[in-house]
Structure formats: structure tokens, C-alpha cells
């Protein structure tokens, strides 16, 4: 085997040492790392810039909207109060109880052999319930039945327009007095009738309370 002398072994060793110099490798690694970090930093900076710009736009928008919103809130209070006032006044006008139709019902229901001596009616202001009372004299062969007929006739009339109608005699007494009607002398009874009723709200139909059978 021929003898082989490497006269460059020291140079080669130095070259090898330079190639695997940890400091140099470390510097390279740090360089790459710094490049990556700088890239990431710019990427994040762009993201933050977008968010900041959005927040700035919202702030500008809010600065212009806030006074308008405050003015609108103040105006809303005024307009709501005005609308509520109008609703209240109009509802008071619309939901009044009209007495003329009630008087008409009484006029139609009272037969000629009954005389009403006193009529009293009241209606709760702003409410839906009312009451009437009728005092009178009923004349006939059976004056009590005449009074009862008046009560049922008036009840039927009231049920056409009102709900929860109740009626009762607070008094019904035979009278010693007699009356002359159509040439006949008839017995009389004094009665006092009470009615309570509720006026349905517009649109509501009266409850189908059955009329008592005579």
C-alpha cells in the first residue's frame, strides 16, 4: 500500500471548523428568525391597522349620530306625549255612553198600561258600566205580570246592545188604587226596577246571555 501524505490536513480542518462554527450557524438562524419575525410583525401591523381604521370610522359615525340620537330621543318624548294625549282625548270622545239610544229602548219597551214616574240613570265616567232605575205604576188584570213583562222586554232590548245585563225588582207592591184604561177599571202595582249593564268595547259583540223565559 503506497504511503499517502495529506499536506493540507490542517487547512481542511480549519475549513471544517469554519463550516460548523456554532456562532456563525447561530447568526444565520437568528437572521432567518428575525426575517420571519419582521414578516409576522408587518402582517400583524396590517391587521391592527384595519381594526384601528374600523374603530376610527365608528367613532366618526358615533360623533355624528350621538347628537342626532339625543335630539330624536327628546323629540320622541314630545311626540309620544302628544300621541298619547290625542289617543286619550279621542278615546274619551269615542267611548262615551250615549243616553239617547237607552231612552229610546225604554220608550219602545214601556206599554201604554205602564206609567214610569221616575227614571234615574248613571254611567261611570271613563268606565264601561252603567245602571238605571225605573219607578212606576203597572196596570192590568194582573199588574205584577205587566211589571214583569216590562222587565223582560227591557232586558231583551238592553241585551241587544249591552253585555252583563242584570235586572231585578227592588220593590213590587200591589196598590189599592185603580185606574180606568180603555173604559175598564184595572188594578195597579207599584214597582221599582233596577238594571245594571256593561257597554262592550267597539268591535266586541254583546255576550249571548239568554233572555229569561216568561
Amino acid at each position: 500500500m503506497p504511503l499517502h501524505l495529506n499536506l493540507y490536513h490542517e487547512i481542511q480542518k480549519q475549513q471544517l471548523q469554519r463550516r460548523r462554527d456554532p456562532l456563525k450557524l447561530g447568526i444565520y438562524a437568528v437572521g432567518v428568525l428575525i426575517a420571519l419575525l419582521i414578516g409576522y410583525y408587518f402582517y400583524r401591523m396590517q391587521q391592527v391597522y384595519d381594526v384601528t381604521r374600523q374603530s376610527g370610522q365608528l367613532q366618526t359615525q358615533w360623533q355624528s349620530l350621538e347628537p342626532k340620537s339625543k335630539d330624536a330621543a327628546a323629540l320622541e318624548i314630545v311626540l309620544t306625549a302628544q300621541s298619547k294625549l290625542k289617543e286619550t282625548v279621542v278615546s274619551k270622545i269615542d267611548y262615551r255612553f250615549f243616553w239617547a239610544p237607552m231612552l229610546q229602548k225604554i220608550q219602545i219597551a214601556v206599554p201604554r198600561n205602564v206609567q214610569i214616574t221616575t227614571f234615574r240613570g248613571s254611567f261611570e265616567p271613563g268606565g264601561r258600566t252603567g245602571a238605571i232605575s225605573l219607578n212606576g205604576v203597572a196596570a192590568g188584570a194582573q199588574p205584577r205580570k205587566v211589571a214583569e213583562d216590562l222587565r223582560t222586554a227591557l232586558l231583551a232590548k238592553c241585551l241587544q246592545s249591552y253585555t252583563s245585563v242584570t235586572s231585578n225588582f227592588s220593590s213590587l207592591e200591589d196598590s189599592e188604587a185603580t185606574v180606568l184604561l180603555d173604559g175598564k177599571t184595572m188594578a195597579t202595582a207599584l214597582f221599582s226596577l233596577q238594571f245594571q249593564f256593561t257597554v262592550p268595547l267597539p268591535g266586541a259583540t254583546p255576550s249571548p246571555t239568554p233572555v229569561p223565559i216568561k
Binding site: 419575525l37 282625548v89 221616575t118
Partner: protein
């Protein structure tokens, strides 16, 4: 491969350098960005609902504003139907005139009753009156009441009393309790 002491030192030095670079990068650069982003996100988070609410408020008011002229017109109409001045000066003559027009001549001037404001009706108040009709007929009275209820929408009859007239059985004595809505200039 075996490292020499010099190389180990250099490797440690390189590691320290990397740690320093990362520390500086994180604390001085990224942290600042994160703080700015967080601050901006907080602003966005708080402003978004406020802006939505403000828009809703403006839209709601605009919607109310559409019906407001009509409401105002109705209120002005109602107000203009109420004569100016104290009701005691104009209401009794108006009622007496009305019943006379209906053919009921005997009318006592209405007596003023209670006067009350309504918290739901600022600018208005209610006055109760008693109207005495000493001599009337039932049918005539019914027609007059119908006319009164139709002619004066601000008037509400709260009570009616009809009795036999003491002096003449042909006639009745009627008493009406009414309530009127009038302007309340003090409110």
C-alpha cells in the same frame, strides 16, 4: 461529532442572543400592537351597540314623526272646538241656547260642579255640570239628548234623572249630569 469548549460557549451565546431578540420583539413590538388592537376592539365593541341603538332611536322617532302631524291636527281641531275663556262664561249660555233650539224653553243655567285635571290629558281638564230642565216631555228630551250627544263630542252625560212634574202631569222634570272636556290654560 464532538463540540469543543469554545464551540459550546458560542452555542450558548447564540441561544442567549435568540432569547434577547425574542424578548425585545415580543415586549417592544408585538405587545404595543396587541394593546392598540385590544383598545380598538374595545371601542368597536362598545360603539357598535350604541350606534345600533342610536339608529333604532332615530328610525323610531321618524316613524312617530310620520303620524305626528295627524295627531297634532286632531288635537288642534279639538282645541279649536273649545271656546276661549273661562267655561263658566260660555258653557251655560250655550246649553240654554241649545235646549231652546230643541224646543225646551224652560232651562235653568247649568250649575258648575267639580273641576278636575287628568294626568293623562295635560292641557285639558274636566268640568262637571248639572243641567236642570223643569218642564220637558220625554220624547222631546230624548231627541234633545241625542242632539246634544252628537253636537258636542267633548260632552259626556254621566247621569239622567226624569221625574213627573209636580205641577203638570203632561210634563217631566229632568236633570242631567254632564261632564265636559275644556282647555286647561294653567297646565
Amino acid at each position: 461529532m464532538k463540540f469543543e469548549a469554545e464551540e459550546i460557549k458560542k452555542a450558548i451565546l447564540s441561544g442567549i442572543m435568540v432569547i434577547i431578540v425574542l424578548y425585545v420583539y415580543n415586549n417592544m413590538l408585538l405587545d404595543d400592537l396587541n394593546r392598540r388592537e385590544q383598545h380598538a376592539n374595545e371601542i368597536i365593541g362598545s360603539l357598535n351597540p350604541q350606534i345600533s341603538k342610536a339608529r333604532e332611536q332615530i328610525a323610531r322617532t321618524a316613524l312617530l314623526g310620520e303620524t305626528a302631524p295627524l295627531d297634532n291636527q286632531v288635537l288642534e281641531q279639538i282645541k279649536s272646538s273649545i271656546p276661549a275663556g273661562e267655561p263658566i262664561t260660555w258653557f251655560p249660555p250655550r246649553i240654554v241656547d241649545f235646549f231652546k233650539r230643541q224646543g225646551i224653553d224652560k232651562v235653568a243655567p247649568p250649575r258648575k260642579g267639580t273641576e278636575a285635571g287628568d294626568p293623562n290629558m295635560p292641557g285639558f281638564k274636566k268640568i262637571a255640570w248639572t243641567i236642570d230642565l223643569p218642564r220637558t216631555e220625554f220624547i222631546q228630551l230624548g231627541i234633545a239628548i241625542a242632539g246634544l250627544e252628537n253636537e258636542d263630542p267633548l260632552l259626556e252625560i254621566t247621569g239622567v234623572q226624569i221625574e213627573e212634574s209636580n205641577d203638570n202631569f203632561q210634563y217631566q222634570h229632568a236633570t242631567l249630569n254632564v261632564s265636559t272636556i275644556v282647555r286647561d290654560d294653567k297646565r
